[in-house]
């Protein structure tokens, strides 16, 4: 008797069970609960009977129309993310172009990669505190450096100025992440078929042409992947702005995550407002991800469909043979 008839499909369910249970308990239920809290009057540290508001969307309405701080936190998050992401991707691309160029054969690449990735490994909290002491006024290391280099006559109070403090937060984000982006991009380039580069070289393309005509287009999926992960990360930005200046000065570095944290856990215990803000953040993340995924989709899905078709074909063939 051939044992081909045994079905193992139950193991599929069985082995996924821990994931599903943990997801339901620790992720789905809390998310739904958060959504529910967003429609209620839950606040304060002492548990009280909770009511759904007469107008269930009151919290959302309050946040959107009567809470300039919330709107500001959304704007700050967007501004800081954009200011940090543009140089991040630009520098990462430049370094990728250099490090993957065979003709340049940069020496010490391994060491550069190790050093440039280093800021990414350190606790963001540490980095935030470190930078706030580095930029201390009037006698911090950066101020000393500026005076020594003759860049300024009197100490600059970086942390009291909206532009510089936002700039520093963006810089830290850039500084922490460009190494990571670079390594991902380099790996992406190494994944491109060498035949493409050879063909281009034989056709007489120069380094710039090869980079813009072959490398960049082939990196499209990886670039979009970087964009999606960076955007989600940027939307959740918390440690650096929170610990760097607690959102100051004048809320210039207050991000949405910090806003949520402050609403719920710092004094006010406005769980309902915080939950409503979380849900709005979730919707924004969802919409932006969908947009990016739509852009990212075509090739991958084509590939998936192709694989599926092939599988079907094979299955049919196997069935015919059997």
């Amino acid at each position: 008797m051939r044992r081909k008839g045994i079905s193992y499909s139950k193991y599929g369910y069985l082995f996924s069970l821990p994931f599903i249970i943990a997801f339901l308990v620790f992720s789905l239920y809390p998310t739904l609960y958060t959504a529910f809290i967003g429609f209620t009057d839950m606040k304060g540290i002492i548990p009280k009977p909770v009511h759904v508001l007469d107008n269930p969307f009151q919290n959302f309405k309050d946040l959107l129309f009567d809470n300039p701080t919330f709107i500001k936190s959304l704007k700050n998050t967007a501004i800081i993310w954009v200011i940090s992401f543009i140089p991040q991707i630009a520098v990462a691309l430049l370094l990728t172009a250099w490090f993957t160029n065979q003709r340049l054969s940069i020496r010490g690449q391994g060491m550069f990669k190790v050093l440039l990735y280093m800021p990414n490994i350190i606790t963001a909290g540490t980095i935030a505190v470190l930078f706030s002491v580095l930029f201390a006024y009037p006698m911090g290391p950066i101020n000393s450096l500026f005076t020594a280099l003759g860049l300024s006559d009197s100490p600059i109070n970086f942390l009291q100025d909206k532009t510089t403090s936002r700039g520093i937060v963006s810089f830290i984000q850039f500084w922490m992440w460009y190494g990571n982006t670079m390594i991902v991009l380099i790996a992406g380039v190494l994944g491109i078929s060498p035949a493409l580069f050879e063909a281009a070289a034989i056709d007489g393309a120069n380094a710039r042409q090869i980079f813009f005509r072959i490398t960049l287009p082939s990196l499209r999926t990886i670039m979009l992947f970087t964009l999606v992960t960076s955007m989600i990360g940027g939307l959740q930005m918390f440690d650096i702005p929170q610990l760097f200046l607690q959102g100051g000065p004048d809320n210039a570095t207050l991000t949405t995550s910090s806003f949520i944290y402050n609403q719920a856990f710092k004094g006010g215990y406005m769980f309902n407002k915080a939950a409503a803000a979380s849900m709005m953040m979730f919707v924004i993340a969802l919409v932006l991800s969908l947009v990016l995924f739509y852009l990212m989709r075509d090739r991958q899905e084509a590939r998936m469909k192709k694989a599926l078709k092939q599988k079907l074909k094979l299955a049919k063939k196997a069935a015919r043979e059997a």
Binding site: Y8, S9, M118, T123, A124, G125, W175, G188, T256, F282
Partner: protein
């Protein structure tokens, strides 16, 4: 012909000089803040306020005394952080591999929908569920417990995704079939045959999960209120508080202590970490 050649090699040389200058500048930029931190950890507050120095001073002992005298307990923090990170890492890699195995090896009706579902879940930001999570744990009396920081790692969608991609590329069904013929149970063949095969993927993911969990601030900050449960990032966040305001040397020393183990860890494993980032990036 020769002049063209010369010109080309000259411009290549010039380009290369610029490239090296930029790379060295960026490398210094990466090290500089940490270097200042380590140097300042050995200097007195007065010295630090006097300006920048490139060489260590002699006040490390005083800084240490001030730091520890003000209830900064790095050992406790290390212990808590390590417990949480190690637990998280084990849960995440074991159960994610198990889920990925289910997705790759077995054909079941819900397989494809489940996979798409996991992809969607990857997009939920942690803060979206934070308030509900906190209230739920509060009702269970699980605040100030390390379990709610560890157990959620069992459902780690990104890791499942990565492991699935890895298994698709590296696990041949023949091995599983061979195991079955030899009488291995499904669970046994996962534990004894597949897991060892997945070692490279497990190692790279373990590093990332460990570092990510070690660096996580948001969840521990909302859940842990008792001092003896604080993780290192929470302790660091307290360093800037009022009691240390004037003790810059101690702040730098405290920061150095939290960074040092990661530095050692990083330089020992940097090759694998870099390779891991690459692997994670390319496999999407």
């Amino acid at each position: 012909m020769e002049t063209i050649q010369n010109k080309r090699s000259f411009s290549l040389g010039l380009n290369k000089t610029i490239i090296y200058v930029v790379c060295i500048f960026l490398a210094l930029l990466s090290i500089f803040p940490f270097y200042i931190m380590f140097v300042n950890a050995t200097r007195s507050t007065a010295e630090i306020q006097n300006g920048l120095a490139l060489f260590p001073s002699t006040h490390i002992k005083t800084n240490w005394d001030v730091l520890v005298g003000k209830s900064f307990d790095p050992l406790r923090g290390f212990f808590n952080s390590f417990l949480i990170s190690a637990g998280t890492t084990l849960c995440a890699i074991y159960f994610s591999s198990l889920t990925a195995y289910a997705l790759v090896v077995y054909t079941w009706k819900m397989r494809q929908p489940f996979f798409i579902f996991i992809m969607c879940v990857m997009m939920i930001p942690a803060q979206a569920s934070a308030i509900g999570f906190y209230k739920f744990m509060y009702q269970l009396h699980w605040t100030n417990n390390l379990l709610p920081l560890i157990l959620p790692a069992i459902a780690a969608p990104t890791v499942v995704f990565f492991m699935r991609q890895y298994l698709l590329g590296s696990l041949s069904m023949e091995i599983v079939e061979a195991g079955r013929i030899d009488g291995a149970g499904e669970f046994f063949s996962f534990n004894r045959i597949t897991l060892p095969l997945m070692m490279p993927a497990l190692a790279t993911q373990a590093i990332f999960i460990f570092v990510g969990s070690w660096n996580n601030l948001f969840t521990p900050l909302i859940l842990l209120t008792q001092k003896e449960n604080y993780t290192l990032p929470i302790m660091v966040s307290l360093l800037k508080g009022d009691i240390y305001r004037t003790e810059f040397g101690s702040i730098y020393l405290g920061l150095s202590l939290t960074v040092l183990p990661l530095f050692v860890f990083y330089f020992l494993l940097s090759r694998y970490i870099i390779a891991g980032v690459a692997l994670g990036g390319v496999k999407e």
